[in-house]
Each structure stands twice: as C-alpha cells, then as structure tokens.
C-alpha cells in the first residue's frame, strides 16, 4: 500500500461518510454543506488519480456553482432552520434497494479489478485536456454547448410565468379592462362636483361683496352687469372640467384660495387679495380692470 493508496482511502472515507450524512441528515442546509465536503473529497480523489483539470473543474462547477444553486433553492423554498421531521419516507425499501445496489456494484468491481495494479499516471495538464477536447472531441463539445444553452433557456422560460401563458380563464380574468381610477371613479366625480360648487359659492360671495362696494361707489349699472354673470359660472366650470379632463381640477393642496398661480380661478373673484384692491378701487380710475373682470367672467 503506497502513499497514494492511503490518501485515496482517507479521501474515500471522507467522501462516503459525508455522502451518507447528505442522505440522512435532517437539516436541509446541513445536507448541502455535507455535499460540499463530499464533492471536495471526490475532487481530491481526482487529484490523486492524476486528473488535475477535472479536479479543478469539479471544485469550480460543483462546489462553487451547483451547491450554491442548491442552497439558494433551499433558502428560496423557506426551509426551516432546525431539523425537519417530514423529510424522509420510511427507510425500509430505500435501504434494501440502496444496499442491493451497493453490494452488487462493489462485488462486480471488486471481482473485476481485484488484482489490478497500475502506475500513477503522469499528471494530466490542462494543455493535454484542451488538445483532446478540441481535437478528438470537438463534436461532443459543440453538442454540449448547445445543450447547455438549451438548458439555460429552458430554465429561464420555466422560471418566468409570463412566457407561454395560455389564455385560460384566470388569464382572461386578469386581462379584463381595469377601470381608470381618475376618470371612472364616482368618488372622484363627487369630489370634483363638491369643489366646483364650493368655488362657485365663494366666487358668488366675493362677487356680491365686490359688487356691493362697487355699487356703493359707482352706481347700480356695474352691479347689474356683474350680478347675472355669477349665475352660469358653476355650469361653466363643470363643462370645462369635462372638456379638459378631470386631472387638472384636482383640489389644490394648500386650500386653493390663496394661490395666485391657480389658472382656473377667475381673477378678482377667488382670491382674498382683490378684496383689498376692490376696497381702494373707488379711489383709482379702475375702469380697465373692471372691464377685464367683466370679460373674464363672461
């Protein structure tokens, strides 16, 4: 028994022991970590057997990618942290079949290779493996590339539920037209109506006040012009809402009355500031502004 034999036995004991823990452990995450140990020991066996390239590919692909994928899946399926009781079936038939397979294969291989001894081959470098792959095994290499691509595309298609969804009843229910929350909602319409009515009332009140002051200052003619103009305003506001869309008529956040940049507030009516101006307006030659108010209202 040489050093290589002893090394191989030790690595084999590690691989088989942690493999047994993989298939018997009650912790899902621990099973994955025992799988890391088992695959690492098998990579060590590859190294002893002289297949250096295979050993490093094993470490990279298996330990680095496959086990990480498996642990991702364990965590994505919300595996419990502690031991799980319902991981296993009853052990009888599985143990019988597994022991049968193990004994059968071991007997076969021991019978075939009992007395075979071999010299340790020279370590296979990546250069020789590359020459072989791209020399004698180009066609399987290409086929494997296509298979890997197909497997990845298949995994993506499986993982995305929107690819290949057939128009069944739940899909038809999901494709039903969703109501526009702004245009269709009765709540929004009622709120807009309330806003319009409140603004019309405020305009009428302010206009009455201004008209009274103006009537006190100028006479009855201007008041007679403005007073009937206050009546059609709510209807016009609503018509403008309907024509230009309801989104523009959202209630202003700051209570709307004091904002000078509100475009739809009729000048001199919705703002409290024209009250002061209207109070001093009799002292000024105020006829152009009155005309502007009149045209804006009409």
């Amino acid at each position: 028994m040489t050093v290589a034999d002893a090394l191989m036995l030790a690595l084999g004991v590690i691989a088989v022991g942690s493999g047994a823990l993989v298939v018997t452990s009650a912790h899902l995450v621990r099973a994955g970590l025992y799988l890391v140990i088992s695959l690492g020991a098998v990579a060590g066996l590859y190294l002893v057997l002289g297949a250096e390239m295979v050993a490093w590919v094993q470490v990279l692909v298996y330990v680095g990618a496959v086990v990480v994928l498996l642990l991702f899946a364990v965590m994505l399926t919300r595996a419990p942290i502690g031991p799980s009781r319902d991981l296993d079936r009853p052990a009888g038939p599985a143990a019988v079949i597994g022991a049968g397979v193990g004994f059968g294969l071991t007997a076969l291989l021991v019978d075939a290779f009992r007395w075979t001894a071999y010299d340790l081959p020279p370590p296979g470098t990546a250069r020789r493996v590359g020459e072989q792959i791209f020399g004698a095994w180009v066609l399987p290499f290409e086929v494997l590339g296509i298979l890997l691509l197909a497997a990845l595309v298949g995994a993506i298609v499986l993982s995305r539920p929107d690819i290949g969804a057939r128009p069944g009843p739940p899909a038809a229910a999901g494709a039903a037209p969703t109501p526009d929350p702004v245009d269709e909602s009765a709540d929004v319409v009622a709120r807009l109506e309330r806003i319009a009515a409140r603004q019309a009332a405020a305009q009428a009140r302010v206009r009455e006040q201004a008209a009274a002051e103006r009537a006190a200052a100028d006479g009855q003619v201007a008041a007679a012009e403005i007073e009937p103009a206050a009546a059609p305003d709510p209807l016009k506001e609503r018509a403008r809402d309907i024509v230009f869309g309801a989104g523009d008529r959202r209630p202003p956040l700051g209570g709307g009355d004091g904002e000078p940049e509100q475009p739809r507030v009729i000048e001199g009516a919705g703002r409290p500031r024209p009250l002061g101006r209207a109070a001093e307006r009799p002292a000024l030659p105020a006829s152009p502004s009155d005309d502007r108010d009149g045209t804006g209202n009409a």
Partner: protein, 126 residues
Amino acid sequence: MHAVIPYVIAALLFALGVYGVLRRRNAILVLMAVELMLNAVNLILVAADASVKKATLVGVPSESWANVAPEPRAGAIFALFVIVLAAAEVGVGLAIVLQYYRLRRAVILDEVALDAHDHEDEQVTS
C-alpha cells in the same frame, strides 16, 4: 496502486445516491442525491482512465468497442462532459422545483398530483 479502491468508493457513493433518491421526500434533497450519483460515475470514469490499459483487456480484439479508446485521457474528458451535464440538469431541475414551489408552496414529492389536470397542473407536469 490498487485500482480497486476508487472503484469501491464510487460504488458506495452511487449506492448512497440511490438510497437518497428513494428515501428523501424533499425535491432539493433528491437533487443532491442525484449529484452524488453523478459524482460516482465521474469517479469511475476518471479511475478507469487512470487504471485501465490496453494490456488489461486480455483476449479482446483490438478493434472491439470494449477496447480502450485510442486517445489518452478520454475518461477525464468524459468526466468533464458529465460535469457540464450535471450543471445543466441542476439548473433545469431547480427551475422546475422553484416554479412548483411558487404554485403550490411545497416541495414534497409525495404530494405532487400527477393526474390532476387543471390549468396550473399542466404548466407543472408537462
């Protein structure tokens, strides 16, 4: 070196994989057991690559398919191919498992209803 050691290790690993596939109910643990079996096959390939020489097969004509491939290190290359196959297998398998978990909130293989045929089952089983 005794050639029987890696072969016996590979046989035991394969038996453990068979036992795990039959015993486990969790789909991810079944995939781990499948990985063990694939590793056993890889180990046999590499061990045969290192140990089997032309002189080992006594009485087999040289043009027989059972003879060693004329290229050296062919077993290592096949092991590489098997590793690639295992990576593809585990990718697709985990996609299936995660999709099933998304539909049913379970990864227990005993409760997969293979004969149910509503809309979601067709997506899972077909």
